[in-house]
């Protein structure tokens, strides 16, 4: 195998401005879908988790609970690829919606899918917060919702941060299925670069390296965030060992 020619072919392809732009767009789209997906996912997930842990005295809560159960079952029960295909090629056309940017569809589907997973993570996080916190909030006269929002959920998020980082990593890697609905992501870009002169080995390796770098960056980001949020459980300022 002649790696040097393969590498040269790749480099010469990449010299073209078109392909540079392609790679950049792909990288940007991958990040966009993952980041926006995670944000939507956290919002949806938190809402579902709150419904799940709420007391079920009222009929409306019981109905919402059922809806959330079905939602989670649907989105966890089917692969992301299937969800993307159904949304883009079945749901939208059958509703008569045209001219929807495939990237937007990708973001929404990723967000909704992620929401199903985050809801379970968040539920665990909320349950991990000591019950006394809720009681104390209620005892000073705050409502259930306010206590949840101001006291329980912030602590829950701190507890589940490492797991949320995991979810983010999963999302960024799963963006590689976006090509199914014609989004130019990292995979599509490098695949196209490889097709230029039928030489895909180097582009695929480069793709792997880029994904690893992205994931390492996320890991670092989560670490930093954890340290920043850990300020409330630091006991006494740390001293250097003598």
């Amino acid at each position: 195998m002649d790696w040097s020619t393969k590498w040269e072919k790749f480099v010469s392809t990449m010299e073209g401005e078109y392909f540079q732009q392609l790679l950049l767009d792909g990288l940007l789209n991958t990040d966009k879908v993952a980041v926006m997906g995670l944000i939507i996912g956290i919002i949806i997930g938190t809402l579902i988790a709150v419904v799940k842990v709420a007391p079920k005295y009222k009929l409306i809560m019981r109905i919402l609970d059922k809806i959330c159960t079905v939602y989670v079952a649907l989105f966890r029960g089917t692969p992301m690829t299937v969800q993307l295909l159904l949304a883009y090629y079945v749901l939208l056309p059958s509703l008569g919606v045209r001219n929807v940017d495939s990237l937007t569809v990708g973001i929404v589907v990723f967000g909704m899918n992620s929401g199903a997973y985050v809801s379970e993570i968040m539920r665990g996080g909320i349950n991990s917060v000591d019950k006394g916190q809720m009681e104390a909030g209620r005892a000073v006269g705050l409502s259930y919702n306010v206590t949840m929002l101001r006291i329980v959920i912030p602590q829950a998020i701190k507890n589940i941060l490492p797991t949320l980082g995991n979810e983010f990593i999963t999302l960024i890697k799963e963006t590689s299925v976006l090509s199914f609905i014609t989004v130019y992501d990292l995979y599509t870009a490098l695949s196209a670069i490889g097709s230029k002169n039928y030489e895909k080995m180097v582009p695929y390796l480069v793709m792997a390296v880029i994904y690893i770098i992205l994931v390492l960056l996320i890991t670092l980001l989560v670490r930093l965030l954890e340290t920043a949020l850990a300020k409330s459980d630091k006991s006494a300022p740390k001293r250097k060992k003598a």
Binding site: A136, A139, L142, Q155, S232, D233
Partner: protein, 279 residues
């Protein structure tokens, strides 16, 4: 008499599934009373205390507070809980907030909510005035959100100064000792200017060394005339600070008396046995 009475509990019942924890408990707490509740573990004394602010919903009976029955589900319990402070065995300070935020959270949120309600009312009156022949007086709120915040902070600092912990205002609860945490929990309850304070075994989770500082603060409050209901195992506190002591066993008030009579001339057999073990 009626004005003096802060809490009036009548025929209070509490069942957990089939297990009857409280059976027909009656108690009146007057202004300035310090009521100590003692009893063997599992007798329902904590449940009784938690029923008083509906932390546990009573299954029967009435709890009259400020003329309203708290046991009624239609009553807005959050509104009344603002006037009933509660101190827990496990302190339960909000871990994600500094000491100062812990104390000011509720006063600020409640203050701002009241302000919003008042603004809404003023707006409605103003709109109504357009159509009214005789204009109604507009009662516009004079305070702003910032005022509420500063006032709450000042109050909190004042209270912290009182317990000598003003230098801990920006510390997080995890950096404090148990005694400090519990004293701050008491201050958090005081910041709402409650009519009555409920203590649920406030010293049971503390190191022996720290029990004193918490009891001292409670004694100080009692001397200032704060109405308190205290579930405790501290017989010394019950004897010296309380003006009434209650013995609960098997979900019933077995004896209620002044500390003098209670400790020196107990009537109930079960109480005699209990006292012989703990004293």
């Amino acid at each position: 008499m009626q004005e003096n009475c802060i809490l009036k509990i009548e025929h209070l019942n509490k069942k957990f599934a089939d297990h009857e924890v409280l059976k027909d408990v009656n108690l009146t707490v007057n202004k300035g009373d310090v009521v100590a509740i003692i009893g063997p573990s599992g007798c329902g004394k904590s449940t009784f205390l938690r029923c008083l602010n509906c932390m546990e919903d009573p299954t029967g009976g009435t709890i009259l507070f400020r003329g309203e029955n708290l046991a009624d589900f239609k009553v807005d319990i959050n509104k009344h809980r603002r006037h009933i402070g509660m101190v827990f065995q496990q302190f339960n300070l909000f871990n994600n907030m500094t000491v100062l935020q812990n104390i000011t959270l509720a006063p600020i949120l409640v203050g701002c909510a009241d302000l919003r309600a008042k603004k809404r009312k003023t707006l409605l009156t103003k709109i109504g005035n357009v159509f009214r022949k005789e204009k109604k007086a507009v009662d516009a709120p004079t305070v702003t959100k910032a005022d509420i915040k500063t006032a709450a902070k000042e109050k909190a600092m004042e209270l912290l100064k009182k317990i000598g912990l003003e230098d801990k205002a920006d510390a997080y609860p995890s950096t404090l000792s148990g005694g400090q945490k519990q004293r701050i929990a008491i201050v958090r309850a005081l910041a709402m200017e409650p009519d009555v304070l409920l203590f649920d075994e406030p010293t049971s989770a503390l190191d022996p060394e720290m029990v004193g500082e918490v009891l001292n603060l409670m004694t100080e409050l009692a001397n200032e005339g704060m109405t308190m209901v205290v579930v405790t195992h501290e017989m010394g506190f019950a004897k010296e600070v309380a003006n009434r002591v209650i013995f609960i066993d098997e979900g019933v008030i077995k004896e209620e008396n002044t500390p003098q009579e209670f400790f020196h001339a107990p009537q109930n057999e079960r109480l005699k046995e209990f006292l012989s073990k703990v004293l």
